[in-house]
């Protein structure tokens, strides 16, 4: 237990490049214990890059990432995961040739076996669809079911910090609602800290304690979820585009 005032995850001045192309231009974000923090922004703003940089792939060229008092900016990815960070990556990177159950086992690699049954039950409670399909291979699931599996697998590692990259991608409206409810519940009941990247800005901001807006690799606006929802610029850019 480090002192409670220090943030669980602290990203400061992080710059990331793909070759010579700058993706992140000095990003500062703090995520405190027990918080849901969301990052919204247009496609190509660098949201997923930040998420991947936290996990050490690609690496930050400048700046520092501190998790729970440990500098993880130069740590190998598998060691970062051991510290209790789990990610549900964008684009459903599940193991297509393993069954649903085996995928969940992979998520539980770092966890004591005694928790396994309870944890699997919890994932199946959250996603009854996965229970129906538990002996099917991951690759034969529909797109949305693969998304559920990716989130379930991340939960299996009993993370302290959960990184979710577009959890609502390709999911039916009803399921999206359930997923956001689940995230809220996990946060409330189990104190899970969540860092959430979303296109679905309305849902994300409603759920989050704090939000940040990213434009072109930089944070341009920060505030509580409710504040950002009310901001005219945010509404215009991320909420109301679909309306006349």
């Amino acid at each position: 237990m480090s002192e409670t005032s220090a943030p669980l995850l602290s990203v400061s001045g992080v710059e990331t490049y793909y070759g010579n192309i700058v993706a992140l231009r000095g990003v500062d974000i703090d995520v405190h214990r027990g918080e849901i923090v969301t990052l919204i922004g247009a496609n190509g703003a660098g949201k997923s890059t930040l998420m991947m940089t936290i996990c050490g792939n690609p690496r930050a060229r400048h700046g520092q990432i501190v998790y729970d008092g440990t500098d993880i900016s130069a740590m190998p990815t598998h060691e970062i995961m051991r510290l209790g960070i789990a990610q549900s990556p964008e684009g459903r990177r599940i193991f297509p040739r393993m069954t649903v159950m085996e995928n969940l086992q992979m998520g539980a690699q770092l966890v004591d076996d005694k928790y396994f049954d309870d944890d699997v039950k919890r994932v199946f409670d959250l996603f009854p669809r996965l229970k129906e399909r538990q002996v099917q291979r991951g690759g034969t699931l529909s797109g949305g079911e693969q998304q559920m599996l990716a989130i379930g697998r991340a939960l299996m590692s009993r993370p302290k910090l959960l990184l979710l990259d577009e959890p609502s991608l390709g999911l039916a409206p009803l399921i999206v609602r359930q997923i956001f409810d689940i995230i809220g519940d996990l946060n409330k009941n189990e104190g899970l800290t969540v860092f959430l990247v979303e296109q679905n800005a309305f849902h994300a901001l409603k759920l989050a304690h704090r939000g940040h807006v990213m434009v072109n690799g930089k944070i341009t606006m920060s505030g509580t979820g409710a504040e950002l929802l009310k901001r005219e610029e945010v509404r215009a850019a991320y909420l109301e585009g679909g309306k006349h």
Binding site: N43, R133, P173, L239, G242
Partner: protein, 475 residues
């Protein structure tokens, strides 16, 4: 040519999918081993329509796409693509012969389930995009669009030899392909990235490039698998414009799978809803949106409605302040709501997570939903109250409450805290019932009184509610 005479009447009613279909799917069944992904599905895609295929995850939508575009050979069923006006008689004759397709004059019938996948795009003119983007990531944007025109270039170059010699026919074709590629890059706003590798584009741009690539094959039918996934609302709106442009300027019919209801409801002429491989609803966007089966299985509570209500409330406050009126209790509510909504997560989320993880009843519209405390089997005197006179209840929520046996104001007025929570869970409203004081409003209304809001409803001034005191005007 005789076939074209007895074609069905032109689309005078505006329902092209009934009168002038470009694609007909009949009794389509697809089994994988013991798993039936699609079961006896029939639907039409109207010529020049934008048709949406929606449904919960795993309902079989992508499987239908894979059957239509030849990635799978269906277990049973017939999938017919029609070019020009084609009579049913013509289709039956082609089916009987065992041919894959036949063209007579301007009319062509293509039986897609018999055709190898590469001829489907080439001859039947069906193009598609993919749920998980499948571009040639290492090729540039321009090259991706030229590859799409590979067949034509290959023929024009006499299978390479003419190209090597630089014959005029090939040079012309090359020029034309280039122009078409440039045209589509302009349309999808990627001209300035023409020479970047496709894999380096952001997600939204890759989706647009996939659409451009399909359009380079000059399809009659464009199948899009979740084109708006991963797009924010503004980008979705741009996508809407692009799809409408394609339909308007190129006459291409569009079949799309999409979860973004903003896209589906705004641009579709026709919506088909699948659940567990079967069709549960079929009709225009408005009809499907209000279909209780679709709401139960798929939509849940409408977000747009919620956003609109929030905006409406804000506008009300602003108006009231602008008039400098004594702000009445009712109108000031949202202010209180903000205070209350801070307290609300505790009330709601302290409840065990299980409460909400119960599986959602699939297609509950068919069977009556479990009644709530004090719920009735039918409204007293066969007529319920107009619940939309309570602020916060729209027609959709009214329908849901009715399904739970709630028809009258006095029933809501009698709700205890636990009932409110149950209702909130069911409607997926975090604390809204409490925040908007439904119970208090219901008490007033049950006594025959009026709130400011209900007065406005009675005047017909609230678009999201029905006017009238009884249940009368309901659809």
């Amino acid at each position: 040519m005789a076939d074209t005479k007895d074609m069905t009447a032109p689309a005078s009613t505006g329902r092209a999918w009934e009168n002038d279909a470009v694609l007909t799917v009949e009794h389509l069944t697809m089994r994988f081993g013991g798993l039936t992904a699609v079961n006896d599905l029939s639907f039409n895609v109207g010529r020049g329509d934008i048709t949406a295929l929606i449904g919960p995850n795993g309902a079989g939508k992508t499987t239908v796409f894979n059957c239509v575009t030849g990635f799978y050979k269906p277990t049973e069923g017939r999938i017919t693509m029609r070019h020009g006006k084609v009579s049913n008689d013509f289709i039956e004759r082609v089916t009987d012969t065992g041919e894959r397709y036949r063209v007579e004059g301007n009319a062509g019938v293509y039986l897609l389930e018999r055709m190898p996948d590469f001829t489907i795009s080439d001859k039947a003119k069906v193009a598609r995009t993919f749920q998980n983007i499948r571009l040639f990531a290492g090729m540039t944007v321009l090259e991706n669009l030229l590859v799409a025109q590979h067949n034509r270039l290959m023929v024009a170059s006499n299978f390479t030899f003419g190209g090597l010699l630089g014959l005029p026919g090939y040079r012309k074709a090359r020029q034309a392909s280039m122009e078409k590629a440039i045209y589509w890059m302009e349309r999808v706003n990627l001209l300035d990235r023409a020479d970047d590798p496709a894999g380096d584009l952001p997600y939204g741009a890759q989706r647009r490039l996939e659409i451009a690539r399909s359009m380079c094959t000059d399809p009659h039918l464009l199948c899009l698998d979740e084109p708006a996934a991963g797009l924010n609302p503004r980008e979705s709106a741009e996508l809407n414009d692009l799809l409408q442009f394609i339909r308007r300027e190129h006459g291409t019919s569009i079949l799309l799978i999409e979860h973004d209801m903003g896209v589906v409801m705004e641009i579709s002429d026709h919506v088909v809803v699948l659940d567990y491989g079967e069709k549960i609803s079929d009709g225009d966007a408005e009809a499907v949106r209000n279909d209780p089966k679709v709401i139960a299985a798929y939509l849940g509570v409408d977000d747009e409605e919620e956003i609109e209500e929030i905006l409406e409330e804000d506008a009300e406050i602003a108006k009231a302040h602008a008039r400098g009126e004594e702000v009445s209790d009712d109108v000031v509510m949202p202010e209180k709501a903000k205070a209350k909504s801070k307290a609300k997560p505790k009330a709601k989320k302290a409840a065990p997570a299980k409460a909400r993880s119960e599986p959602v009843p699939a297609a509950a519209g068919a069977t009556p939903a479990p009644a709530m405390a004090g719920g009735l089997n039918a409204p007293r005197d066969g007529k319920g109250d107009n619940l939309t006179r309570i602020k916060g209840i729209g027609p959709i929520n009214e329908k849901k409450l009715n399904a739970h046996g709630i028809f009258h104001f006095d029933q809501i007025a009698a709700w205890k805290a636990a009932d409110v929570k149950q209702a909130e869970d069911y409607l997926a409203f975090d604390g809204r019932i409490k925040r908007e004081e439904w119970v208090k409003q219901a008490k007033t209304l049950a006594k025959g009184g009026d709130t400011d809001f209900s007065k406005r409803v009675d005047k017909g001034a609230v678009p999201s509610s029905r006017s009238g005191k009884g249940k009368g005007g309901s659809k």
